[in-house]
Each structure stands twice: as structure tokens, then as C-alpha cells.
């Protein structure tokens, strides 16, 4: 046997190195084992963290803003509603405000209060028929079109429809450039949804 030819010193070295390498191997296996367990932990954790990320449609639904009689023809009024997606501890923050503009008997526009620039609440001035933003000075005309200032586009508007004399809008999330950029509806709800007449 080849081991028989080794000196006692060399023999103990070999033994030690085999022991060490075996322990190293065990350590490596242990780490791989940890890695696998970690994966089983990490995947649920990431899914848990990403749970608020949903397609826009998952958060939106049709909400009633009230009887159309509440909104006089030719005027723009602030309306409020409770966000359809809310938690019991949301308090006042579950409330959302929007501007309802009634152009004709059955013609409405509903704007988000959020400025299209950075989301500050715009204020309606009926005398000059302008929306003005207090943050960076964006201004919009009565139809929501951009008038001046840093915004690149007009006000965000909600899809709306009238059912049984109730004004309804499709809402549920804070409008931003990433989710409502397509909705430049200067013409309002006309022809956009089911109408009662």
C-alpha cells in the first residue's frame, strides 16, 4: 500500500488535509443548503413587497359622484368621493377630490385636482375661468387645457358616464403621468360611455 511508505509526519499532514478538506466540503454544502433555504425565503418576501404593484384596472372602479342635479350647467364644482380601494385606518386620506365641469345638460368633464406637473392641488377660479396651481405656477383653462407654466399637458381627467341621473367616474388611483398620460379628453365624456337620454 502506498500509505505504508509515508513517514509519520507526512501521514499526519495528509490526514489533516483530508480532514480539513472534508470540513470545507461540509461547510460548502451547508452554505448551499442555506442558499436554497434563502431562496425559499426570498421569493415570498419579494412577492410580498411587490404586492401593491397591480395593473391600473385592478385599482379602478366606477364611483358615483352624486346626482347630476348637484352640478349646475356652466359651472365647475369641487366634488369629493371615497377611494374605492381603501383601508379602515386611512382616515381622511381615503377621500379624493375632483373638479366636475358641466358644460351642457348631459355633457360633463371631471378633472383630477392634481396638477399634471407634480401633483399639487390646483384651485379653480370661476371669475377668470382658470385653474391655478400653488406649487410651481401651472395654469389651466376651464376645459382642462394647459394655459401656462411648467405642466407639459392639460389636467388629468376621469372617464365619466351618467346612469339614472347619477354622475359616475372611473377612478381609484392617484393620477400621474405614468397611468393617465393617454387620457387627454378635452371633449369630456361625450360619446365615451353609455348615455341615458
Amino acid at each position: 500500500m502506498s500509505t505504508g511508505t509515508l513517514t509519520p509526519q507526512a501521514e499526519s499532514q495528509t490526514q489533516q488535509s483530508t480532514i480539513v478538506s472534508r470540513r470545507w466540503l461540509l461547510l460548502k454544502i451547508g452554505m448551499i443548503f442555506n442558499g436554497i433555504a434563502g431562496m425559499f425565503l426570498a421569493v415570498p418576501v419579494i412577492r410580498y413587497l411587490l404586492s401593491p404593484v397591480k395593473p391600473d384596472a385592478a385599482y379602478k372602479s366606477w364611483i358615483t359622484l352624486g346626482n347630476i342635479g348637484n352640478f349646475p350647467v356652466g359651472e365647475t364644482r369641487l366634488a369629493t368621493f371615497l377611494n374605492p380601494f381603501r383601508r379602515p385606518w386611512d382616515g381622511e386620506t381615503a377621500k379624493v377630490a375632483c373638479y366636475v365641469r358641466r358644460m351642457a345638460y348631459e355633457q360633463f368633464q371631471v378633472f383630477a385636482v392634481n396638477c399634471a406637473h407634480l401633483g399639487c392641488p390646483v384651485r379653480w377660479f370661476p371669475q377668470s375661468q382658470l385653474f391655478m396651481c400653488p406649487c410651481h405656477g401651472g395654469a389651466y383653462y376651464a376645459d382642462g387645457a394647459r394655459a401656462s407654466g411648467p405642466p407639459e399637458r392639460g389636467l388629468f381627467s376621469y372617464d365619466c358616464k351618467i346612469e339614472n341621473d347619477l354622475l359616475k367616474i372611473n377612478a381609484g388611483q392617484m393620477p400621474t403621468l405614468s397611468n393617465t398620460a393617454k387620457l387627454v379628453t378635452i371633449d369630456g365624456c361625450k360619446g365615451k360611455s353609455s348615455w341615458t337620454s
Binding site: 413587497l49 411587490l50 401593491p52 404593484v53 397591480k54 391600473d56 385599482y59 379602478k60 369641487l78 369629493t80 377611494n83 380601494f85 381603501r86 383601508r87 379602515p88 385606518w89 386611512d90 382616515g91 381622511e92 386620506t93 381615503a94 377621500k95 379624493v96 377630490a97 385636482v113 392634481n114 406637473h117 407634480l118 401633483g119 399639487c120 392641488p121 390646483v122 384651485r123 377660479f125 371669475q127 377668470s128 375661468q129 382658470l130 391655478m132 396651481c133 400653488p134 406649487c135 410651481h136 405656477g137 395654469a139 383653462y141 376651464a142 394655459a147 401656462s148 407654466g149 411648467p150 405642466p151 407639459e152 381609484g172 388611483q173 392617484m174 400621474t176 403621468l177 405614468s178 397611468n179
Partner: protein, 495 residues
């Protein structure tokens, strides 16, 4: 005494901290680093500890629920004994901490301390600065008032501009589709657990490296850093002409930290806590949100960026800025440390400082924002109406009623969004004014749809009277010329 010694001996036998602590305390530092310029780092650490302690004390009362946070802050302010004081200390401590961290960074930059072998100390410092700012922002969110609510709205709006993933990131940031309970909860977790935890670790490493690598020597023009010789030179500097860190340098740190703590206390007592302002009710649109002091410059920059440049600037500029800060010690790890021989560094620093100062100053009075109540709150100065005709008075009424005043000031009152109109008639003719009012332009909305012809006539009639007493109103020279030629060509109709 003997009992104390026994207890100490018992503990030391187990902890064995004496040797490393002695090592750290007595390590020699260059004689000239025992300077008042070197006290800002330790002051920042002292403030960090102050923020931890006061933060924990506030957390035993604060309710991180969107429905209750604002009320719990008001209880702290008004009902709980000295709750206002704790809030004030935490708020002022935050301001002082950002300021001291920035000053510390400027000092380190000026002294070239980021060069070899202290590159990583600087890089960790950059992350500590970012986390300090992160704490300031998340702290402002926890003060769950109107400014916090709309500040989150601005954060979400900026996030939404990120291409492709913007919408998903907004959901992640807000914890749902709107700013609500989930939003506050996650900012609470960030402010109370995540960022402070990382900060403590990073600050520990930062201090560890200062102890291990030694305090940067006072920079001398001509004494350049070379990788091959620096460690040897530093060793000689500290061992031939050095002094022990304790008490040689530390006594100044201790004094300055105490002074900073005293300043925080004085400010807290004198000025009280920050907010909360109005309750976070998003249906209250009569609000003028504004960020805290150290974010005012961003607020100003966002008002002045041209719309087309805005998204690229918001998204790319921070990455470039942070990238430059992180790369600085790697790019310039050798060479001159002294500010006497680094003109570019001085120029960059002064440019950044002046820009920051100007933007912050502008944001303190927001000339770009309309004054929402000027039309009803700031009357037309009587002197403009003393000799006015009925038409001019009617015009002044139109001027106020149509909110012109929100953007245009008279005698210094009113908005600064548009030019002051005290002398508008000196620079614009009647025709130009009518065109500007009806069609808008520049940064002005068009009023064509909102003014009747009679209102326009009255308004421009009023504006025509706004010129210095001795001056004639502006007139159309070419029109006069044409009229004159007409009269010359027909000699019998003399003027």
C-alpha cells in the same frame, strides 16, 4: 472604591475592551489636526445619537396610522407634558444634522481628506449624506400634515416619470394606488428601522476607518499625496510630532458637540416644534404646500426647468451628481490636498454653494407661484385711482376680479409670476396690451374667452394709466409716423 474596582475588573476580564479602547484613544494624531476645523464629524455623530434618542421617545407616543398620526402629533404638541419640546428637539436636531453633515463634507472636500487612503471613508460619507437627507424627507412625511401629503404627491409624480416602470414604482412608493395608510406605514418603517439601521452601521464603519487610517493631516501646499510614500510620511508625521488623540484633539470635539446640543435646545425652546400644519385631508385644496428648508432648492429648480428638459433633468441629474461624488476619491486619489493649489475644486464648490443659496432664497418667496389670495386680499393702491375716470375704475375692478393680481403686483403687492404692472403703460402700447390680454403668451393664459369686449376696454383703459407721473404712455411710433405722413401728403388738412 475597592468594590468599584472589583466590578470593573470582573467586567474587563470578560469584555476585554480596555486594550482596544486605549489603543483608539491614545493613537497619535498630527499636531495640527487638533483644530476647530476638525470638529464637524464628531458633531454629526452626536446629533445622530440625539436623533436616535429623541426619535425613540417620540415613537412611544406617535401613531403611524394615516387616520391618527396628525392627531397624535397634536396631542404631543398640546396635551402631553413637554411633548412639544421633544418634537422641537427632534425637528431642530434634524435641521442641524443636515447642516453639520454638509459643513463636514465641505471641510473634508476643501482639505482633500478624501485622497488615498481615505477614499472609502468619503464614499461611505456620501451614503451617510444621502441617508441623512433620506431621514429628513421621510421625517417630513411622518409629520403627516398637508405639506407631507402633497410632498408625497410630488414624490409620486416624479417617480411616475421614470420610463417603463414608473407606474409600478409609484405603487411601490405609495404602497397602493393613492397616498394613504399604507404610504405612511412604509415611510414609518423606512424612517424608524431601515435607514437608521443602515446609518448606524455605516457611521460605525466610517468612524472605524477614521481611527484606523488616522485623521487627515493639515494640508500644506506642495505636500502632495503619493500612494507609494504617503503611509510612511503620515507615520513619521504622527510619531515624530504627533499628540495623543485623547485629550489632544478630542477636547475640541467635546466642546463643539456640547455647543451644538445647546444650539439645538435654544432653537427648540425659542422657535418650538415644526408643525404639523393643516390636517392631511386631500379634499382641502386651499393649501400651498412647501417642502422643508433643505429641499427648497429642489422645489425652486423644478419651477425653473424648461418643461421639455424637466423629466431628463429630474431623472438623470441626481444619478450624475451622486456618481461624481462617489467617483471623486477614485479619480483624484493622489496629488495636492491644499485648497491653495486646487482652483477647480474651489470654483466648483463656490458655484454649487451660490446656486444652492440662490435657489433656496428664491424658494423662500416663490416668485413663480401665483398668490392665490392677492385678487381679493390686496386692494388696488388708492393713488392709482384718485383721478381715475369711471372707465378706469371699472378697469381696476376687472383687474382684481379676474385674478390678474394673483400674478401681477402693484406697488409690490400681488404675485410675481408675471411682471409688475406699476409702469406697464410705459413699455406697452394699448394695442399690445389688448393683444396680450386676449391672446396671452409668454407665460400668460389667454383671457379672450373670459373677458367681454367692454371688460377688455375697461381693463386696458386702467392699465394705460399705469405709468410714472412725468412719463407719456408708450405709443406706436410707426403708427404716428404713418399718420404724420398722411397729414404731410395732404397739406390742406393741418393738424
Amino acid at each position: 472604591m475597592d468594590i468599584l474596582k472589583t466590578i470593573y475588573g470582573w467586567l474587563e476580564h470578560r469584555l476585554q475592551l480596555e486594550a482596544p479602547v486605549k489603543d483608539a484613544a491614545l493613537h497619535p494624531v498630527p499636531r495640527n489636526t487638533a483644530s476647530w476645523w476638525y470638529v464637524f464629524g464628531s458633531a454629526a455623530f452626536t446629533l445622530l445619537i440625539l436623533q436616535f434618542v429623541t426619535g425613540i421617545l417620540l415613537a412611544i407616543v406617535y401613531v403611524p396610522s394615516a387616520g391618527h398620526a396628525w392627531y397624535s402629533l397634536n396631542v404631543l404638541n398640546q396635551q402631553l407634558e413637554l411633548g412639544w419640546f421633544l418634537r422641537a428637539i427632534h425637528g431642530w436636531g434634524s435641521n442641524f444634522m443636515v447642516a453639520v453633515v454638509l459643513i463636514h463634507m465641505v471641510q473634508v472636500f476643501l482639505f482633500g481628506s478624501y485622497k488615498y487612503p481615505r477614499e472609502l471613508t468619503w464614499i461611505l460619507g456620501v451614503f451617510l449624506l444621502l441617508m441623512t437627507l433620506g431621514m429628513a424627507f421621510t421625517g417630513q412625511v411622518l409629520r403627516f400634515d398637508q405639506d407631507a401629503y402633497w410632498g408625497l404627491g410630488i414624490g409620486a409624480s416624479i417617480t411616475s416619470r421614470i420610463p417603463f416602470v414608473g407606474g409600478s414604482l409609484v405603487h411601490l412608493l405609495l404602497g397602493g394606488p393613492i397616498i394613504a395608510g399604507a404610504t405612511l406605514s412604509r415611510f414609518f418603517a423606512l424612517h424608524v428601522f431601515v435607514i437608521p439601521g443602515i446609518m448606524l452601521g455605516f457611521a460605525g464603519l466610517h468612524v472605524w476607518m477614521v481611527l484606523k487610517l488616522g485623521i487627515n493631516e493639515w494640508p500644506m501646499p506642495g505636500r502632495t499625496v503619493k500612494r507609494s510614500t504617503y503611509l510612511q510620511e503620515y507615520h513619521e508625521l504622527t510619531h515624530k510630532n504627533g499628540i495623543p488623540f485623547v485629550p489632544g484633539a478630542l477636547w475640541k470635539d467635546v466642546f463643539f458637540s456640547a455647543a451644538i446640543l445647546a444650539a439645538v435646545i435654544v432653537c427648540a425652546v425659542a422657535f418650538g416644534p415644526f408643525g404639523p400644519s393643516g390636517q392631511p385631508d386631500p379634499t382641502i385644496v386651499r393649501t400651498v404646500p412647501k417642502p422643508d428648508f433643505f429641499f427648497l432648492w429642489i422645489y425652486a429648480a423644478l419651477a425653473y426647468l424648461p418643461p421639455a428638459m424637466e423629466t431628463p433633468c429630474i431623472l438623470i441629474a441626481p444619478i450624475i451628481g451622486i456618481g461624481i461624488l462617489l467617483a471623486l476619491p477614485l479619480y483624484a486619489s493622489e496629488g495636492e490636498k491644499s485648497w491653495h493649489r486646487r482652483p477647480v475644486a474651489i470654483l466648483v464648490l463656490s458655484t454649487v454653494a451660490v446656486t444652492w443659496g440662490v435657489l433656496t432664497h428664491l424658494a423662500s418667496f416663490t416668485p413663480w407661484s401665483p398668490h392665490m389670495d392677492a385678487w381679493s386680499g390686496d386692494p388696488v393702491p388708492p393713488k392709482y385711482l384718485r383721478t381715475a375716470t369711471p372707465l378706469v375704475r371699472q378697469g381696476a375692478a376687472v383687474f382684481q376680479a379676474k385674478q390678474c393680481r394673483n400674478c401681477h403686483s402693484l406697488e409690490g403687492n400681488g404675485g410675481n409670476r408675471g411682471p409688475a404692472l406699476d409702469a406697464v403703460a410705459s413699455r406697452m402700447t394699448e394695442d399690445q396690451m389688448i393683444r396680450q390680454v386676449l391672446q396671452g403668451g409668454g407665460n400668460m393664459p389667454a383671457y379672450g374667452k373670459n373677458l367681454s369686449p367692454a371688460e377688455t376696454t375697461a381693463l386696458v383703459g386702467f392699465l394705460e394709466t399705469l405709468h410714472p407721473a412725468g412719463d407719456l404712455p408708450a405709443s406706436n411710433a410707426s403708427l404716428e409716423e404713418a399718420e404724420e405722413r398722411q397729414t404731410q401728403s395732404v397739406p390742406e388738412t393741418k393738424r
